[in-house]
């Protein structure tokens, strides 16, 4: 008996090490996160009563959306705006990618000198830091209402996204081939078009389509602040309490985005 219990206490125990320094820190962090959430709810004055009455209003709203408006005049307006939305996304994608190319090459650490690298990374950070709607508001103030403001805003956001991801692909290429091309006496430009470009063409196509799909989604929303597309219609109709038309617009938005996502997925699967 005595011998048995002593071997049991000699047995080594094991516990999974925590990602935090020790267990006390772990529980302290969990506690702090919970306290932060509670404080946020309290300071926003979200009470169960308000939540319930909100549910009631929501139910009424859905009721007033049904059935969606399908009058021929409304549908014609909707189709016009849908075409505008898709056109905005196309133009913004092309413009954004054209501007992104030099930025992406500049931001690839293996291809560009240090000063260019930091400048390009700076451009990317600025473009990524500001949300698309804020850019759209600024563009509307600068250029007036309409799709041009939307195109500028979406192009601007495309630069940050596309340059960053494409620069990462450029950094992943095999430099051996590039080195060999340089060793034959090729110019820098030649080693880019001969050694680098062929390696990244499929990734370029995939990223371009992916960004096009994101831009379709963005161009449905920037209209909320007056920058053209379906969003303009959406904003107008709910400020006039035409909730049945709002429902039609939402269905149109979902349809456009789903089609864009489908096309994008098919193309990307093919090129990669």
């Amino acid at each position: 008996m005595a011998a048995g219990s002593s071997t049991a206490s000699d047995r080594r125990t094991w516990r999974r090490p925590t990602a935090f320094r020790n267990r006390y820190t772990k529980w302290a962090v969990y506690g702090a996160v919970l306290a932060l959430v509670v404080w946020s709810v309290a300071s926003l004055r979200i009470t169960p009563g308000r939540f319930l009455s909100g549910l009631g209003y929501g139910y009424e709203l859905i009721g007033s959306m049904l059935p969606p408006e399908t009058g021929s005049e409304s549908v014609a307006r909707l189709v016009d705006r849908m075409i505008e939305t898709i056109a905005m996304a196309m133009v913004a994608t092309v413009a954004g990618i054209v501007i992104s190319l030099p930025v992406a090459f500049g931001a690839a650490g293996n291809l560009s000198p240090r000063p260019t690298y930091y400048l390009s990374r700076g451009i990317i950070s600025v473009s990524r830091a500001i949300d698309g709607l804020i850019v759209a508001i600024i563009a509307v103030i600068a250029l007036g209402f309409g799709p041009l403001a939307g195109i500028v805003a979406i192009s601007f956001k495309t630069i940050g996204f596309f340059s960053k991801l494409f620069a990462e692909d450029l950094e992943d290429i095999d430099m051996g081939g590039v080195e060999a091309v340089e060793a034959t006496g090729a110019t820098r430009f030649q080693s880019l078009v001969y050694g680098v470009v062929p390696q990244v063409v499929p990734r370029f196509a995939g990223l371009a389509v992916y960004r096009w799909d994101i831009n379709i989604r963005s161009s449905t929303i920037v209209g909320i602040v007056g920058a053209g597309g379906l969003g303009v219609l959406l904003q107008r109709s709910y400020s006039r309490y035409e909730y049945d038309f709002v429902a039609t617009i939402l269905i149109a938005v979902i349809a456009v985005v789903l089609v864009a996502e489908f096309v994008s997925a098919v193309v990307r699967r093919r090129v990669q």
Partner: protein
Amino acid sequence: MLETENLGKTYPTGDEALRDVSVTIDGREVVAMIGPSGAGKSTFVRCINRLVEPTTGRVLLDDRELTGLGEDELRNARRDIGMVFQEYNLIERLTVMENVLSGRLGYVSNWAALRRNFPPEDVERAYELLDLVGLDDMEDKRVDELSGGQRQRVGIARAVVQEPKIVLADEPTSSLDPETSRDVMELLTDIAVRRDVPVLINIHEVDLAEQYADRILGLHGGELVFDGPAADLTEESKGVIYRGEEPPESATAVGGGEPTDVETADRRADREPLPAED
């Protein structure tokens, strides 16, 4: 003719990869450079076309100093140096023909390179070389469809289409099986004869070096410890090269009296009074 004078390379990390290597390679010699891993073989070859920038010494190709050339002049000089790589260093997604023609990039405009528009002579030459290396009718295949041996043949064709004054091969057989390695060595020695150019091959398989090279250079710890005809490579000299043993008095060492070295010494003496160009 390629000459290196006291070539040395110290990497920024402080590793001295190469120290005082002076070599002359001429005619249609096949020169094999052997030595243990890390002896500086690759550094030496890359210092010649300045893929690696040497820290001391000079490189001369047909009496033109390559060290110290500006960017444009270096590009022109590189057209005269063909290079074959261990990992082939081809552009995998391009066709065999495009890879071979990349050897002519130094002679065409940027616009022509973009459109793959090479002069007919270049295309003709590329076809002839594909025949020579045994890849006839493969010009439209993509390189990633080829086997290792075939890829290395494309690499050799790319180097030779440059019409170089010297071919450098950096471990051309290390990624290949023994049979294919022999084919590649045969092809390289064949090219030296047919094209009348010297070929410098870095290699770690000593038997291949002895079998195919006219002359052997041995590097140990960044220093040249053997330079002589393949027939003079004895067990002792291998000990010097691979294990850093002290050479016995009688053994062939650097400057050990074979005719090429006497010539080298003479030529070097002749050049000494020339002012060093920047």
